[in-house]
């Protein structure tokens, strides 16, 4: 949707919450739970808690692993210990991370009298990834990469990539 269309429809945004996450925030083991819990509290959602955890988990892994740390998912497949090496490299790079920024915006939106939805936008200020190629890749039964996006596409009513792949916007129906 272009900004022009946005102005023309009758979307009512009733609440917005933004986070500007630093390297220290991204290192925190409680990153996903603090985001999900804040959203549940702020937007008075309780039933959706487990789904929000899953959505935030995939969104943050995506932003951190690929955007901020520049790790390629294909590494998970290389050799029998690929996944293990991926996690260890991730941990190592995350601990050394100095400057990083990830912005998270959560909006409660409603169009006319349709069911309201939550729009979550995550922007990482990293080099981005080739989402056109990644989205075209079929997710194999035994492959380890691409599952995060597959999960997001199932849990959300829409998943869109913006910019050079450094921005992802998902919408999640609240009904």
């Amino acid at each position: 949707m272009s900004p022009e269309q946005n102005l023309l429809d009758d979307t009512v945004v009733s609440r917005i919450r933004c986070w500007d996450l630093t390297a220290e925030d991204l290192r925190s083991d409680e990153l996903v739970s603090s985001l999900a819990e804040s959203v549940c509290r702020d937007f008075q959602l309780d039933l959706q808690r487990p789904v929000l955890y899953m959505i935030f988990s995939e969104l943050m892994s995506n932003a951190i692993d690929h955007g901020v740390l520049g790790l390629a998912s294909s590494m998970k497949e290389s050799g029998s210990d690929g996944f293990e090496r991926f996690l260890k490299t991730r941990q190592q790079r995350l601990s050394e991370l100095d400057l990083a920024r990830v912005a998270v915006v959560v909006e409660h939106r409603q169009i006319d009298d349709r069911a309201p939805h939550l729009r979550i936008t995550v922007t990482d200020f990293g080099p981005g990834f080739d989402y056109v190629r990644v989205c075209r890749e079929p997710v194999g039964l035994m492959t380890l990469h691409g599952r995060g996006l597959a999960i997001l596409r199932h849990l959300c009513s829409s998943v869109r990539h913006r910019g050079n792949g450094n921005c992802i916007e998902v919408e999640f129906l609240l009904d």
Binding site: Y53, M54, S57, A150, I151, H154
Partner: protein, 101 residues
């Protein structure tokens, strides 16, 4: 969040229970629960009844377990909550693993 290991009395089954959130932070303990325990017997149960949620790295860990076990034993995913079951289904894991509700 934690991983609990238990061996059945006859020694033929091990059960790995994942409590709380099942994500990359559990990697070390999840792996240790089946790779450092000696003989894994004939069946590995992964008890998901107390698993609050599971993300894509948890799916990766289940595949690692599958690779480790090979044909030596059967893997049974037990009692996933509806939300966890949803993720398993999305990832087609219901075709890769036996799931018992």
């Amino acid at each position: 969040m934690s991983v609990i290991f238990e061996r059945s009395e006859n020694g033929e089954e091990i059960t790995v229970s994942v409590e709380g959130r099942f994500d990359y932070r559990l990697y070390e303990s999840f792996k240790a629960s089946y790779s450092d325990v000696g003989d894994i017997g004939r069946q590995v149960n992964v008890d998901l009844s107390s698993t609050e949620y599971m993300d894509s790295s948890a799916l990766g860990m289940l595949l690692m377990l599958r690779e480790h076990v090979g044909r030596a034993a059967k893997i049974l995913l037990k009692n996933p909550t509806p939300d966890v079951m949803r993720v398993l289904t999305i990832a087609n894991f219901d075709k890769l693993f036996a799931i018992e509700s």
